[in-house]
Symmetry: none
Subunit: 184 residues, 4 copies
């Protein structure tokens, strides 16, 4: 029903290329070609390449945070919400593999600038972890819990992406159980 505008096409093409090859490795010309326009046209929609780079990070970082936050603050027992958060995390990754990879890459290359964005996905995880600790349901230090939660899920996603792990039905539940056991 709704046509996707050039601006969004540029954003999507950029995300794809950035996540595949890197930011510096992707030229404005590459993006233009992917969209099917010429270089100059990009600049009617964005002031600079960096505006795309930053805009992309901000948008997906926020989107990811919101999905996590929604799960964290949803109804039900802590365990249920914990599982929902695992699902939300992996759901975001699998639905937006480019976006997740891009967020990761951005962290590597522009770590200083990440601080200017808020809230970040990890804030939602931290909220969950802290509640778990407060209620005695998570027994490890908050930083260890954060590392375990985020690190494991990130690697699960990367293994699936690399074809080393099949994305079968029930994956999220299984991983959720492993994490729950590890933390409680």
């Amino acid at each position: 029903m709704r046509r996707i505008g050039t601006r969004d096409k540029i954003l999507l093409a950029s995300l794809k290329l950035f996540s595949e090859r890197g930011i510096r490795e992707t030229t404005i010309k590459d993006i233009a070609k992917e969209v099917g326009i010429t270089e100059g046209a990009i600049y009617r929609h964005f002031k600079s390449k960096d505006e795309i780079v930053l805009g992309l990070f901000g948008a997906y970082s926020e989107e990811f945070y919101k999905r996590l936050e929604k799960a964290v603050r949803s109804e039900g027992s802590f365990r249920e919400r914990f599982m929902r958060t695992v699902k939300a995390f992996l759901g975001f990754c699998f639905e937006n593999p480019s976006a997740f990879k891009y967020l990761d890459l951005f962290h590597y290359l522009r770590s200083e600038e990440v601080k200017n964005f808020s809230p970040l996905p990890k804030d939602a995880i931290l909220e969950l972890v802290e509640e778990g600790i407060r209620h005695g349901l998570i027994k490890v230090r908050r930083e260890y819990a954060l590392a375990l939660f985020v690190g494991t899920l990130e690697r699960i996603f990367l293994l699936v992406e690399a074809g080393m792990l099949e994305r079968k039905e029930g994956l999220e539940e299984e991983v959720g159980e492993v994490l729950w056991k590890a933390l409680s």
Copy 2:
């Protein structure tokens, strides 16, 4: 007593700069300046920038693998070796933060090429995990175990680097225990 040659200085300077700013973001001139020589001199030691980039990955990837492998194949019970491997992992990270970050970055930007290198650090971890599973000491799927092990340790290192976690005495043991519990 052995003096560090220009070639090694170039490698070290490159590693530092690559891990700090990125590969594309580091110029041959930057490297030369860091070493205290001029651009042209670099080419006396390396045929191209990419030879440095690739050489660095190969060298540290192997070094990391060897340290992990040594721990995996060391003497003692499985549990002892497991703990030693955690220590070897974090030890490598903390002793060579640039190298670890660089290995990570390289994975993002040149994932295809990573396959040309062997053995990779993860192979050592996989060896450990598989033994654990065979002996019934690790109860989760090998891929989950790999993700948990590597992902968590990577994040622990990143949290320390970011100043969000103090690198206190006993960190390795604590994290080792958490991982052991998670996997067994």
Copy 3:
């Protein structure tokens, strides 16, 4: 009572911007914004940017010439007409500072093309000077006289513009006297 058309608005906006920042430094978009229309609309009125550039020079060059010529050929003694011409010169400058600056700038950047325009303001001055010489009222070579007349008045205007000289009542008369004395 007659409304100023879009075409004239474009001309006026262009003159302002060209004289303030330079021709190359002013974009079609700048002009459009100043007028309150969009880029494309400019091309409804002018075939190209250069048509504006050239049109502006032709129009103001002619206008300037006419005002000078009118003074030169006015009634009265030579001295009276000389003074009137000084007044006409400075009058044009102060009433149309942008135009005068633009004429000057155009001379610098497009000196070759200036020759295609005729008559030029200097032709009127030359007419005055030659008459003065013929009547023995101007005693210096025609080229010196031209340089003195035009050069001095131009600089007077520029000093006023730069805030280094106040544009007080009687300025024209005083300057006229200085020039008269210098030439006779």
Copy 4:
């Protein structure tokens, strides 16, 4: 004996082209071609085009000032020094026509930035004029005197350049006399 370095060649070529066509109208490629090198080489000697633009103005503005100042502060009567200053002015113009035209052009396009440079040629003229006024030898306002002096000489130069006035022997003396008469 001394070879002219690339840096100076670039400066000279830039001056020539800038004064002939304008600054914006001259590209780095034009300059490189004029020098006989490629674009990139320019940047080994200058950080940016603007560094050339500004450097050129600073250098010639200072050089011009110094030549004027030397004449103004030379030995002899005020009249003698006045004449020497006229000669110094025209001497600079005729020896460095490109430089003089460039200084003028820069004033038009970058008037704001001119203020950052000091001393400027006009400061030397002002020094002369003020002394003349103090001694009762110049009878017109300092600003009028400045306009007359600078404006006339500039136009004399431009007329010679345009081929409208021959640069014959004794030109400087004749013009000097006209100016002296005009001011005293």
